[in-house]
Amino acid sequence: MAQTILHKAETRGHANHGWLSSYQSFSFANYYNPERMQFGALRVLNDDTVDAGMGFGKHPHDNMEIISIPLEGDLEHKDSMNNVAVIKNGDIQAMSAGTGIYHSEYNNDRASQVKFLQIWIYPNKRNVEPRYDQLTLNLADRHNKLQQVLSPNPDDAGVWIHQDAWFHLGKFDKGIDTEYTIKKQGNGVYAFVLNGQLEINGQVLNTRDALGIWDTDQFKITALTDAEFLLIDVPMVF
């Protein structure tokens, strides 16, 4: 019997730093909610909006798989591995912080905000060599089907990370449905609605709502309106 947990959009933590508005699905920085610590290996899902010309200054990370998915605008990334890149809507970036890195992220556009998802997954191995990966995705590959954008395998579709995790993006027209089969025994899926209305396992989800589902092999996803969503398939015990 599938187990589920519903996280309505309005129950997320929120930090407003003026230049940064961050909606946090799990405890992060000053937002601490013991009931919202993680979903399996998924530890952070921040829904961030960065003002024009602003950004995150140089700051460190270690032992975490960090994935950025821009939703609107361009974000400039610089890191201590000498990577300088701009990630834009349609891209995905993965970084294994491992033994330690520094990076910064800026919205260099003087007029427009940047909206992006910042996702942290616990690694399956500590102290790996830091690495950075970025990919431009074909948006057509998610229209009315699921597009794999992340996996544990360097040779598979999308970017890869040090964890038995898979991400899929979907952009479904109203009425389209599909069955999702969980990738690995013991994994669960955190389904996050980017916009529109979905039904998963009988639960109706609206924009920025999320449903965690585990102890099942598969589940049905139906778009009740035109909808975009992200499926995060992660180990529940790791």
């Binding site: 992060f28 530890r43 460190p60 270690d62 032992n63 942290w120 102290n127």
Partner: protein, 109 residues
């Protein structure tokens, strides 16, 4: 040996191999007036500091190999069986406070 215990502050020993990240984590710990962080880059330094001061929590940061973690944990548990030891992830401000709150909460059970 007389051990130093500062009243009303939770004493947190942070161990990590990356000097800048260690410095950042200790600074972030010390941003909370109820917490006092002490940072150590090596096992020897950590053991020496632990033996001289009363700690409530140990955070194991990045770069410490498994065998060193095991020997450090064995030493700390032998000296203070109720010490809470957690592996710190993330290296910055994101998870730190929640990790500490969760560790201290379980300490109180």
């Amino acid at each position: 040996m007389i051990k130093i215990k500062t009243m009303n502050q939770t004493q947190i020993l942070v161990i990590g191999r990356h000097p800048e990240i260690l410095q950042t984590v200790v600074r972030l710990v010390n941003n909370n007036p109820e917490w006092k962080g002490t940072g150590c880059l090596t096992e020897q330094e950590a053991i020496s500091v632990f033996d001289q001061q009363v700690f409530d929590l140990v955070l194991l940061g990045a770069g410490i190999d498994e065998s060193s973690e095991d020997s450090l944990c064995a030493h700390f548990k032998a000296r203070k069986p109720d010490i809470k030891i957690v592996q710190h992830y993330g290296g910055g401000s994101g998870l730190l406070s929640a990790e500490i709150y969760e560790a201290l909460k379980s300490n109180q059970l």
